[in-house]
């Protein structure tokens, strides 16, 4: 019996398959001219509100869809549909705390992703798990609200290291919290010297112009090449 035992060497990252699937998905999106955006944050940082503000600015120029990922319920999908009028679907992760590339592609097929210019993926509210799994998105965004504190980039390094854009939300409420804006920028810069940082308020509309310009440039650049 014992003689039949042998060892097979793998030496392979547990994330290798997901990374390969994510790269393949990005390549496909490039060919189809679809700009997929992965939006990550803590619960309640303002993902849905920020998407609503942004989509209302983008929808006259681009065909936009939204995929809402949550463990349960469809409140976000209904809220986006009601407040923007764009196509929106709810993905249930079945208890999982993040989306991977396979789940993202399944969602894109369900929404007929290739008929859109921009698809926003609102990831599960969580600063830990979504960072480990590449969804295949063309742009990774983290939203950090002033109520969460300026120390979050120190506590959750990976998600800030991996993102392209940090949106600091609820900037109108900054005076109510012990949130040091410059300190926050410094903490983000320590993790990620290249990320773009834009401060916004969905209530007052501050920064939404800058955010819209940023996205317009990124979408056009993706579609050009």
């Amino acid at each position: 019996m014992g003689n039949n035992v042998r060892t097979i060497l793998l030496e392979k990252s547990a994330f290798a398959d997901n990374d390969a699937e994510a790269d393949a998905l990005r390549e496909k999106l490039k060919k189809e001219g679809v700009f997929l955006v992965n939006v990550m944050s803590s619960p309640g940082a303002g993902k849905t509100s920020t998407l609503t503000s942004l989509i209302n600015r983008l929808k006259s120029s681009y065909k936009v869809a939204v995929m809402e990922a949550d463990i349960d319920s469809d409140v976000d999908a209904r809220s986006i549909a009601k407040n923007t009028g764009v196509e929106s679907i709810q993905l249930h992760t079945g208890g999982m705390c993040h989306l991977d590339a396979y789940m993202t592609e399944t969602g894109l097929d369900a929404v007929d992703g290739k008929s859109f210019d921009v698809v926003f993926l609102e990831n599960v509210g969580n600063l830990v798990c979504p960072a480990e799994f590449d969804t295949g998105a063309c742009l990774d965004v983290v939203i950090l609200s002033t109520s969460e504190g300026d120390d979050k980039p120190l506590k959750y390094p990976l998600i800030f290291e991996k993102c392209d854009l940090v949106v600091i939300s609820k900037i109108d409420a900054v005076k109510f919290f012990t949130f040091d804006f410059d300190k926050c920028v410094e903490n983000i810069r320590m993790r990620n010297p290249n990320a773009t940082i834009i401060a916004i308020s969905n209530r007052t509309g501050e920064g939404i112009d800058a955010l819209t310009t940023y996205f317009t440039n990124m979408i056009n650049k993706w579609k050009e090449n």
Binding site: T7, L9, S13, A14, C97, A131
Partner: protein, 114 residues
């Protein structure tokens, strides 16, 4: 928190390799987990025990978790040091111009099979 997701990716990979090699059953699996990989070993083991019952070839598979120390390199003075002790700041010269060399990986090292 995302241990279950990582476990399911690992099991998928191991079962694929086992089938390609006409394996009857997988006896053990060695996984290297970096100290700062965000994997909680105890939770990972629980998820693995739950998940392996739902596999074809890994029902009796034993899991060996090897924890790899996290090491950071300083670009300014060339020092390497323990990440968990000193974080981003080099203990020798105080620079923050540093990067992680090892410690964030989750690697499927090898499997023992019959």
């Amino acid at each position: 928190m995302h241990e279950l997701g990582v476990v399911s990716h690992v099991i998928k990979e191991v079962e694929t390799v086992a089938k390609e090699n006409n394996v009857q059953k997988v006896i053990s699996l060695t996984l290297e987990v970096g100290e700062v990989s965000t994997i909680v070993p105890e939770l990972f083991k629980d998820c693995f025990e739950w998940s392996k019952k739902r596999t074809e070839l890994m029902q009796e598979c034993e899991l060996n978790l090897v924890i790899l120390a996290a090491v950071t390199y300083c670009k300014d003075c060339g020092e390497t040091y323990s990440t968990t002790k000193h974080g981003k700041t080099c203990p020798k010269c105080g620079s923050k111009n540093t990067y992680l060399i090892t410690g964030s990986e989750v690697t499927i090292k090898d499997i023992q099979v019959e």
